[in-house]
């Protein structure tokens, strides 16, 4: 999976374009929210799709946030890309549908993005399945072959 920021299909046309100053404003908002996470543990999300960012603004924001230590790919109802930005606790989350088209894109300010955390219900269901599988012999035992 390509962990580098791409346009993800969210834009039509060149990645450059007029700068409106909105990226700078969003950058400032991220800074304030990251400080809140550091001070009180308050998590937050900024929805990028609802903002009228020009292609140039988006590129500027991507460049300013940079890349950090972690990137992850998910294959759940279509691919998703998650990477930690150059500032620990700031995550860029991009969801694509099964058709590869974009669904949502947001900046998540949290220790771990919610989509990466395994839900208790899924753990319980997987534990039950694993118990069943462990109680059954493997289809073909090749250990002594």
């Amino acid at each position: 999976m390509n962990a580098e920021p791409t346009d993800g299909g969210f834009r039509n046309g060149p990645l450059t374009g007029p700068l409106t100053g909105l990226a700078e404003a969003v950058f400032g908002e991220i800074a304030a929210r990251l400080q809140a996470l550091a001070d009180s543990g308050e998590e937050s999300v900024i929805d990028l799709r609802s903002l009228p960012l020009t292609p140039g603004d988006r590129r500027e924001l991507e460049e300013r946030l940079g890349h950090g230590e972690v990137c992850a790919g998910l294959d759940v109802g279509g691919l998703s890309e998650v990477w930690e930005c150059g500032y620990a606790g700031v995550w860029w989350v991009r969801h694509l549908g099964e058709d590869g088209m974009p669904r949502s894109e947001h900046i998540e300010i949290a220790a771990v993005p919610a989509i990466l955390v395994t839900h208790a219900g899924d753990i319980a269901s997987a534990a039950a399945r694993l118990q069943r599988d462990a109680a059954r012999p493997a289809k073909e035992d090749t250990r002594h072959a």
Partner: protein, 361 residues
Amino acid sequence: MPERETIGDVLARRGVSRRALLKYTSTLASVMALAPAASRAMADALAKAHRQSVIWLSFQECTGCTESLTRSFNPNIGDLIFDVISLDYHETLQAASGFAAEAAREAAIAANKGKFVLVVDGSVSTKDGGIYSTVAGKTNLQLLQETAKDALAVIAVGTCASFGGLPHADPNPTGAVPVSDIVKDKPVINIPGCPPIAEAIAGTVAYIVTFGKLPDLDQRNRPRAFYGDAIHDRCYRRPFYDQGLFAASFDDEGARKGWCLYELGCKGPVTYNACATIKWNGGVSYPIQSGHGCLGCSEPDFWDKGGFYKPLSTNTGNDAEIVGAAVAAGAAVGVASALIARHRKRKAQTAKAAAKTEGQP
């Protein structure tokens, strides 16, 4: 499906993880501009909820609204919404026809009296007793009245059901009216658009199922989550408007640079919809991004507002003075065009004659 099975049970049985549900609600929360934490709350609530019975009636319409939902480029929306609801009657989608179909509708109403959500697309003919649109011998007016009385709420999908739409356009030969003109004793949610965005239809139903209440509505009974902002306010070309940079024609330098389409008749400043944020064709584009102004299709009487290519600053009323001015302007344009055409013709004739002369020995 067992009667009391939850949506979470249905999804688990189909191997859909909670992570997938969270991805879906994350998209919904994003498009509905809900608080960030809402996506997790929605996923939890949806997993515990029961499927909502829905009866869908189609009146004077083109099926574009159904197409918008079912042909959505977003398989998650298309698939998951049908996990969230139990679509008990839909003439276009159901296999049953004739008497069996009508029996299915009556059975669904009886089984879910007071609990089902009625979705209507298309306007309601009222002239001459509503005889201009009938299904199984009943007028749309009769069908709406007898079905709506047992519904929990009514969702008018599309501009025709919400505001009358094209059937309501002058001279309105069938006496078409919106659903809200007929249903007065229960909430009617309008999801206008020609067609409406699939996410707006699915999101509104999902909201009702998730939170057990109607979403916050604007003065035209549209969910604020999708119709709370003017397209102009969320348009990526808005900065050009603020800078006074406008395209003056569809092929001038301003158009090529992506400047604001206000002077070309864009109705974005007075149109409330989510086209600029959710977009169409899987989020690829929307009319303004594709180079054409907004038509204002999610507003009442958009067809009769005087012209898609007239700037909003132009008075688009139909009084005689304006019509006279338009005729005068049209005549002026006509004269100018004739002069240009005559000039071009003369130029072409001259060039042809010159070529002929040069070609002679």
